[in-house]
């Protein structure tokens, strides 16, 4: 089985953006056994900041990816029960050929079911289908007191809804039961067109929401003046049997970033060229095309280790939702502010959000979500602070699965739901055993 193996443990754990702490990940197929005495469970570590990192005084995390068994599947209803480490990539590859898909999919398929529940992920169809929490049936988890508990919207509903979007802080998620949905073909009927500025973008997103289950926009954050906020609107739906190609979509090759790149690679100049190229790639007036589902849902997954492009200091993704109540100009003001502060974002994604889910800390609410990839520079903390002040004033909130820089006072100002979440957490974990580097930073947990 194994050969020479150094005895030194892996001594640092990091999030996808490069935020890291001293720590060790304990992995086993038996997730129940390894969650007895750890502060946190992590999946494939695709959350960008420190939400999957253990606290400083208890630097051992349980890793769930080896706990990846499918436990039950009902071909008539689509109900799937699986261990929490089961990965979305395997789910798609296994069930799409049989005509089933996960109802809500985040922007990468390298996530586990447990991680999806903890972040209460949303996708391009949030305006129609909500977050993953809406499609969950049941969870099995080890709570902070050590007990194994099952919860659902009917049994222990408060624990269930605290866990949905609770960033793994209510307990170690061991098993997930959710309902898959049937699709008419394995292809996407997609459509994309150029949008000339940010105001048009918000209107176009809202208009297309009624016609398309999947909508999102890519914004050129480096464009200035009348082109500020120009970009590409992308819409899609599962193709019907008649319009879809007869063959199954082939596996796509993945390219690989072999080393950590110098920081200028994701700088302003390369960004301008890249953004111009992407903008010109799309037509002014789009037309319907049959698309491979993987690049449609997970465009960045074709580049393995793409986070290495951001250099040794890494990057953070700032994702916030601005509620409709903030008014039609709020998104423009945020983009203007970002431009003014010099926050050159290589990648900026805008999404239309529907109604808020029941998860106590679930991110999306009715409005517009903006996600910006920001290379970490000396001024990143101050940039995030200023963006957060704007978001607090607008009544919005940030996405914990992406966050690494928000200060506790900003987070608490954004989250009137926090007290209820913390009370429920205390009920199951009075000693505060389960915590993360992020909960220490934002929720005042003991280190």
């Amino acid at each position: 089985m194994a050969t020479a193996a150094p005895d030194t443990p892996v001594s640092r754990l990091s999030g996808w953006g490069g935020t890291s702490v001293a720590g060790v990940e304990r992995r086993s197929e038996d997730l129940e056994a390894i969650t007895c005495d750890v502060a946190l469970t992590r999946g494939l570590a695709r959350s960008y900041g420190d939400s999957s990192l253990p606290p400083p005084t208890h630097p051992v995390a349980a890793g769930s990816p080896l706990a990846d068994r499918l436990l039950a599947f009902d071909e008539t209803t689509g109900d799937l029960r699986a261990e929490a480490g089961y990965a979305l990539r395997d789910l798609t590859r296994r069930f799409l050929p049989r005509g089933w898909v996960i109802p809500v999919s985040p922007g990468t398929q390298f996530v586990t079911l447990g991680g999806m529940v903890a972040a209460d992920v949303h996708g391009k169809n949030h305006h129609r289908d909500g977050t993953i929490g809406r499609h969950l049936q049941r969870l099995r988890m080890r709570v902070g007191s050590g007990r194994i508990v099952e919860c659902s919207p009917a049994d222990e509903p408060a624990l269930f809804w605290a866990t949905v979007g609770g960033m793994g802080l209510t307990g170690h998620i061991l098993e997930v039961t959710l309902r898959l949905v049937r699709v008419s073909s394995p292809w996407i009927a997609g459509f994309s067109r150029r949008i000339s500025d940010i105001d048009e973008f918000v209107v176009a997103l809202k208009q297309s929401a009624s016609d398309w289950p999947y909508t999102m926009g890519w914004i050129d954050c480096l464009a200035r003046g009348r082109h500020m906020g120009r970009g590409v609107l992308i819409c899609g739906r599962w193709a019907t049997k008649d319009e879809a190609p007869r063959h199954y979509p082939k596996s796509l090759p993945r390219v690989f970033v072999p080393f950590v790149c110098p920081s200028w690679v994701m700088g302003r100049t390369v960004g301008r060229v890249f953004n111009e190229f992407i903008y010109r790639l799309h037509r002014r007036h789009g037309r319907l095309k049959m698309l491979h589902p993987e690049p449609f849902f997970y465009p960045l997954d074709v580049i393995e280790h793409w986070n290495r492009l951001y250099g040794r200091r890494g990057f953070t993704q700032y994702q916030c939702v601005l509620p409709d109540s903030a008014g039609p100009g709020a998104v423009r003001r945020l983009v203007e502010m970002l431009s003014g502060l010099g926050g050159a974002s290589f990648l900026c994604v805008i999404k239309d959000c529907g109604d808020e889910g029941q998860g106590m800390l679930s991110f999306p609410r009715r409005g517009v979500s903006i996600a910006l990839d920001l290379p970490i520079r000396d001024n990143t903390q101050s940039l995030v602070d200023q963006l957060n002040e704007f978001v607090v004033a607008a009544g919005g909130r940030v996405y914990l699965a992406k966050d690494a820089f928000t200060r506790a006072q900003h987070f608490q100002a954004m989250e009137p739901r926090l007290a209820r979440f913390l009370a429920e957490r205390r009920r199951w974990d009075p000693e505060g055993a389960i915590r993360s580097a992020q909960s220490v930073r934002l929720m005042g947990d003991r280190p």
Partner: protein, 245 residues
Amino acid sequence: MNVVVLGASKGIGRAIARRFAERGDRVFLLGRQAEDLARSASDLDIRGGQAVVAGTARCDLESPDTFAPALAAAKQALGDLDVVVVTAGEFGTQAALETDLERTRHLLDANFTGTLLFCEHARALLLPRGGTLCVLSSVAGDRGRKPVILYGATKAGLSHYLEGLDHKFRAAGLKVVCVKPGFVKTGMTAGLKPPPFATTPEAVATIAVRAIDRGTPVVYATGIWRWVMFAIRMLPRAVMRKIEF
């Protein structure tokens, strides 16, 4: 094909059982814990899209009295046996084993004595109509090396035994496949820093199943290890005393 997998609920054994299930072969699972085997059986049935698991039975490499009943149950459930795969075993770092002789005894019992006795039972069942016995050994058995002296010794003995079986019984229809992985990222090696050429259980499973299909007597996983270990075997003893590999 009818396949028996010992160690099917974890690591490489789990990955090999999945490969067989996904292509529709019938499998019978052997392992230490009944509940764990039942969960793995569900996993394989769902992945296979049909009932591919013919049954499960308790079998523990440290309890030789479980071998015959477990294999008999497999034969009864599957009818004829085409392939028996043995992936179960223990691992311990040299430092851990040197300081814990009880643990060393368990490792020696499981990886050598238990595995060979199980293989003898499997050989007796497979021989009358021919079949394949596939066993997971390791590159650690190719040469005595400082970091894996005790673990490597069990695998060296195992590889030696498998080679002898191949020499003696190939003509009688028994194909023996010895799989030699390098460092594999499993629960057993979690917490250890992966060295160069570390691989996944899935990659090892692909190589192992291909070797079973072709009847390849010795296969490295991944292939680069064939050349690495060739070079290591060529090194003079004086050099081996100096390096830490």
